[in-house]
Symmetry: C2
Subunit: 416 residues, 2 copies
């Protein structure tokens, strides 16, 4: 309602596909110390330049032996071997293998040449300088072979990966102390609207506090993004055009909020059109709240035009902006926590839109229950802080009845 001029709403997936085709994202790469790289987008494949482990190692505490010596061992015909030494972790073994001998090892001990099998300590009767093995082991058993973890020349981390803690372990492991990563994606956040004041500004009760820029910069808080909150721009075509034109050069993407509904003060899309070479403008997207959301491609860069209403703004970010930001850097979105819950009461939606219903998921005896937070309008910030998840009603559905099992995208912990 209220967007009568936007009767035909574009499907968000189609918008993402259309926009991504028009983008000409140019990102430079830089080589940095690996221990500063957590959360960066890897700009090269990581290939191992050696075998790991570099030598054969024992997988357990026990005794390294020649495999052929214990092949015939059994409870009735145990094999006796003389213990000729011990190999600690981190030390190179100097002993050569000879028939009938064993060496004491711990987990991770490097194995001397010829000692190709490890008998774990629990299968051994040890006395002074001798052990008795009463079970047969296949040759090579309990040995971590050279290169078993990583082979020389193996690709271990792919270009485009957002470096996570396990990648950090791998980079250390490979002694890859420098890595090539993408420069940060620079995003300008431009709140618009003559009614806006900043949180620290004094204004009368008719002013609206700029909440969107703070929510958006927080949603952009990823190591691979550098989001900058720019000053509020008034509802003035010249001022808006100037803001767009002056920020599009230094940034890879713009996120504007406010002034996007179709009406008299509908200046944001017009300012984008005037600011440079516009390849594509889409207005009206099938998300609720957030129908007036728009996006343009200006000089090969995306300009997102989100609603000024806080919840609609955030839904526009989640549905449209975030997927495209990941695509711009060639990375995949991280997995998100989705749970099944029983809906407490009916939620309604319109055909042709994906509705983002804020729900509070609680843990009850009978399982998880999702209670819709009832609010009017898309400006109620409290619906976001009271809820802990979004129930997305699909585009072809008019809603779900109370008692239905639904999937909820959780963004906050479930509190008992």
């Amino acid at each position: 309602m209220g967007y009568k001029f936007l009767k035909k709403l574009a499907k968000v997936d189609e918008v993402i596909a259309l926009v991504s085709k028009k983008l000409k994202t140019e990102l430079t790469t830089e080589e940095i110390d690996f221990d500063k790289s957590l959360g960066s987008v890897l700009a090269e494949d990581i290939i191992s330049s050696f075998n790991l482990p570099p030598v054969n190692k024992s997988a357990f505490e026990g005794y390294a032996v020649r495999g052929t010596d214990v092949l015939s061992a059994s409870q009735y015909y145990p094999v006796r071997l003389r213990v000729i030494g011990e190999i600690k972790i981190g030390v190179g073994p100097t002993i050569e293998s000879t028939q009938g001998k064993a060496i004491k090892v711990v987990t991770g001990s490097a194995l001397p040449n010829g000692f190709d099998t490890v008998v774990p300590v629990e299968y051994v009767r040890a006395s002074d300088d001798e052990i008795e093995v009463s079970k047969s082991f296949p040759i090579g058993d309990n040995v971590i072979q050279r290169g078993e973890d990583v082979k020389k020349g193996q690709k271990v981390i792919r270009k485009g990966k957002i470096i996570d803690p396990f990648d950090m372990a791998m980079l250390a492991h490979l002694k890859q102390t420098r890595v090539k990563v993408l420069e940060k994606l620079r995003i300008a956040i431009i709140p618009t609207g003559s009614e806006l004041i900043e949180p620290y500004e004094v204004g009368d009760v008719y002013k609206t506090v700029n909440t969107n820029a703070y929510a958006l910069s927080a949603l952009c808080k990823e190591h691979w993004i550098e989001a900058r909150r720019l000053s509020v721009v008034q509802d003035d075509l010249e001022a808006l055009t100037h803001a767009v034109r002056s920020s599009i050069e230094d940034h890879h993407a713009l996120i504007m909020t406010g002034g996007t509904s179709v009406g008299e003060s509908d200046l944001v899309p017009e300012s984008v059109r005037r600011a440079g070479k516009v390849d594509l403008v889409i207005r009206g997207i099938g998300i609720q709240p957030g129908r007036p959301t728009g996006v343009a491609v200006l000089n090969g860069k995306p300009v997102f035009m989100l609603s000024g209403f806080p919840v609609a703004c955030i839904v526009g970010f989640m549905a449209l902006v975030r997927p495209l930001l990941y695509m711009m850097v060639g990375a995949m979105e991280p997995p998100r926590p989705i749970v099944k819950a029983v809906l407490k009461s009916r939620v309604s939606s319109s055909l042709g839109v994906v509705s983002y219903v804020r729900v509070k998921v609680r843990r009850k005896d009978e399982g998880l229950v999702a209670e819709p937070i009832r609010v009017l309008g898309s400006s109620a910030v409290s619906s976001l802080t009271e809820a802990n998840g979004f129930l997305m009603v699909p585009i072809g559905s008019e809603g779900f009845d109370g008692g239905s099992e639904v999937e909820v995208l959780l963004y906050s912990p479930i509190q008992g």
Copy 2:
């Protein structure tokens, strides 16, 4: 295997409960600018000091009317009202209500006294300075009431919440420009082992690269944590005792890795015992890999003793350390992405341990399929980077057959 002296393994949930009772965590609070607070632990309840919205507002584009005027409206007996003005967003209305009058409004317009109902634009036939309303609306319809979003005195964010992007929107909304948060939890990460070298150090093939400190500091990369990697400590009781004693004062928790298995070089637990007042020492925990994991409470602070083997170290962190860190700051762990997948081949586990099996989840025509990554030993870092999730085999299970439906904790995106 290899931990014959740790036959009785403690259940990780019981260890967490025991340790949390013994901890005496003392954290100071500090007041900071709200726009620096994302990811901090809130140290006060946030109470609204005013109503939001502060005035009644229109929820839609349309016409504000006196509700009594349109109660009788119907298709056959439409009501005509004279349009006497327009109210833009951000402006205080000066018009007083009089019978038979309407005012043009947009979404978010403040409503003048007496105009208590809004007729959305799609239910109106407008001409020059008159509208025709052909549908009845209950009094108050389509109006966002003063205080409907947030009431004065309402608690909107709870103490102990880790401030998220939606909380940022709320803090801005409330003009709460300063917030009280907990000081950061200071954690010292102490790698131990005479075999260790740093990734940038040259060493022979028998040395082990310190991967754990990098993985752990990455896993601790939360805004509310300040993790410090300390230097590698040799397997020497005096050096270890000195390291523990000198770091426990300045930190709220220590994480030590290496030297925890029961054997001759088992010096870490002894060094903790010597370093101060020890309330509790638990060694041997029912997680796999990671059985030799231990924890002590030293001067009221936790000292985690994790395995030196990378995967076991990480599992120890996830199963034991992370839950306790959240408890120390009184916050809840964020929801984690768990998916159901069909297991490709059998995984085995032992009774009495929770096994953390690394699996690679793929999207197939028939749904998600989880393939176990086969490796020997808990040092194979590649099992973490090849996999994208953990399948946790419960303590009372000996494993799952191929074809079973299992739950996987995803830590990396699913790639087609």
